[in-house]
Amino acid sequence: MNEQQSKKLLDELLKKYRDGTLKPSDRLNIPPQPMPVQDPMKRRKNVNEVALGYTEIQARLEALRCLQCKNAPCVPGCPVIIKIKDFIAEIVEGNYKKALDIIRENSLLPAVCGRVCPQEVQCQLPCTVGKKFKNVCLSVSIGRLERFVADWGEKLHDASVPKVAAETGKKVAVIGSGPGGIVAATDIRKTGHDVTIFEAFHKPGGVMVYGIPEFRLPKAIVQEEIDQLKTMGANIVCNFIVGRTRTIKQLMEEDGFKAVYIGVGAGLPVFMGIEGEHLVGVYSANEYLTRANLMRAYDFGKGADTPIARPKKVAVIGGGNVAMDAARTAVRLGAEKVYLVYRRSEKEMPARVEEVHNAKEEGIEFHLLQNPKRIIGNSDGLVAAIECLKYELGEPDSSGRRRPIPIEGSEFQIEVDAVVVAIGNGANPLIGQTTPGLALNKWGNIIVDENCKTSLEGVYAGGDIVLGAATVILAMGQGRTAAAAINEYLK
């Protein structure tokens, strides 16, 4: 449908809507609005955002697809319980400001969540429209609508900084400036407490800055959120690693912090433990993505000083969003062949459907039901190939997904000059090691109660360091829960 046709359709539908004659069947007949994207061949060569965002006409058409169900099954699907149905109704009316305000009641980072949330397993999964078509991909595109509203707000620089209550003078430390930390700091600051965020890197933003690539989440968006936090009067201290620069005990006993929120992320890459993992050209996804994103290694020699390998043939191991990010980054760094090697089938992939689709469009070759057995080096200690085993799926395991079983004797080799390992993260031990009395589980994750309170008085935690590998939105949800508990604790 071209723009003119879309406009015509929208006018017709809006007329019916205003007359009160718009039937559910009319809504279901509206074609799902596709996300406009950069051409795959062009975007392979740049780091600009791939998804360009809905036009106003598209947004209102998509919003009209929403049946406005009385029971709103989408809402409980959202980890922060955004009043989805209400904000979509405002988009239909063209009241974007109102829509944004409704989202902001529950979510602080709509521009981020609209882009990186896995909506297809959250709000869009129970959507009645998707159920009707028996296809979650045909649900109302709630995430894209959220993004549309957030971008509309940002274009107008409608920062509408949350109000801050009278200063209480009580100091709260937030460790880590990722999504959980930002949300916790905002909510705690709103109450008037004196919040300081401590970040180990030289730039705040956590995984949104070092991990998620520019082409999926522009850094300018994250910067706006950080700036807003500063405007509210929160302090952000970079180059400060809690556990080494100061310990939690020192912060609380000597530096006057009354409460602490630990949102440090996972922060310890998992390797496969196979032969050849020390070869030059084998990276953790964390290293690969940090070089590319935070350090802007794609501009090496053109303003950035951090180098990155620019191999021609890359194997990325894993099937999650991080694996997709790494594979798509490799393409942009000039790789001719990028193989995504995953030991289960596409159905079990934890990556978002949209990112899998984008990756395929960009020419990434999926090697499913395969897994490396060893990495083979040349005489200089550089990666030359990976030897893989083929797999088949057995009975479901504890995760509910069918267990991958290697097929004996199925070894074969793929010639590559770099391997990126994207199979997850463990818990960074630093906070645990330097905080006596902090209860950890056997994997080193911090144990918390339903209010995100740890075993220590006044110390709260959330996000990946508690949940293991989670998502931006789950970290935000916990940041919010912990902030409410901290505000209560400091009353």
Partner: protein
């Protein structure tokens, strides 16, 4: 928080020393620990540098570095009063300091810088210190007097014989290991190849040996794994598990390959930087 350079000195042709304001790091730092320096948030790389000394009273740390690449050369260009934008630390596990008896401290080239605070702390803990200091040539030998102050015995060697004995550090190390009683501990810090051969010597005499590894790093907090080395067959991260390890268990051959990973790009950046500098020099 920025970090003002309070004093700066050129120790030899391309080795520099500076005392830099970093009160939080100075307050927490122990011998053996390091910092990550990032000169400019906008574009710089992050490089690990050992803390050579710190002054808690003045809130300063002392860094000693060799200008071998673009970032270290840029750092060398900074003057007293200039500021370093980002310093993160202290990082890594502190050295294990206790009274062992006799500790032989072997330093090669720039390795003398990280070795000095360890030798000093070992001396303070009541150890007898034998220092073996090596350099390619007399001009490149650094911190000799500082070592003299904390050593019971000091041996200097140069590759070309321009100062001290003409030898590699492994030769006097071998001789010291043959003494009775033999040293209780060796600490060797310098180029990877030097540490490797020092460990081969001390292994023969069964002298426990600590080495401090200087691998490629980005975050320095355990997050990227770029610094990983193989120690006793296991993967260890230099930034959080080290930087010091039992030298007899380190796979130096692998490590040497890994630290060369970006050699070509680093050299290219350094050459371009020098060319650019030259141009500026001509214009002014």
């Amino acid at each position: 928080m920025s970090h003002k350079i309070l004093s700066k000195k050129q120790l030899c042709s391309n080795v520099f020393m500076a005392d830099i304001e970093a009160p939080l790091v100075a307050a927490a730092a122990k011998p053996g620990q390091f910092v990550i320096v990032c000169l400019s948030t906008a574009y710089s790389e992050r490089i690990p540098l050992t803390i050579a000394a710190c002054d808690r009273q003045y809130g300063t740390i002392r860094l000693i570095w060799q200008a071998v690449g673009k970032t270290t050369a840029e750092l060398a260009e900074l003057k007293v009063g200039d500021e370093v934008e980002n310093i993160l630390g202290p990082l890594g596990r502190p050295s294990h300091i206790e009274k062992f008896g006799t500790v032989v401290c072997v330093g090669g080239g720039i390795g003398n810088a990280p070795l000095l605070p360890i030798a000093t702390a070992m001396k303070k803990a009541g150890n007898k210190i034998i220092s073996i200091l090596g350099a390619r040539t007399k001009e490149l030998l650094i911190l000799e007097n500082d070592f003299a102050a904390v050593s019971d015995e000091k041996i200097v060697v140069t590759d070309d014989g321009s100062y001290g004995k003409k030898a590699l550090v492994t030769q006097p190390l071998d001789e010291v290991c043959q003494r009775t009683p033999k040293p209780d501990l060796a600490v060797a810090i310098g180029p990877a190849i030097m540490m490797k051969f020092c460990c081969e010597v001390t292994r023969r005499y069964n002298v426990p040996t600590v080495v401090s590894l200087n691998t490629i790093m980005i975050d320095g907090t355990g997050m990227c794994g770029g610094c990983r080395v193989e120690v006793a067959g296991q993967t260890k991260f230099v930034c959080v598990d080290g930087p010091e390890f039992n030298g007899h268990q380190v796979n130096f051959d692998l490590m040497m390959k890994r630290i060369q990973a970006y050699k070509k790009q680093e050299q290219q950046a350094f050459e371009e930087y020098k060319r650019h500098k030259c141009k500026i020099g001509l214009d002014s």
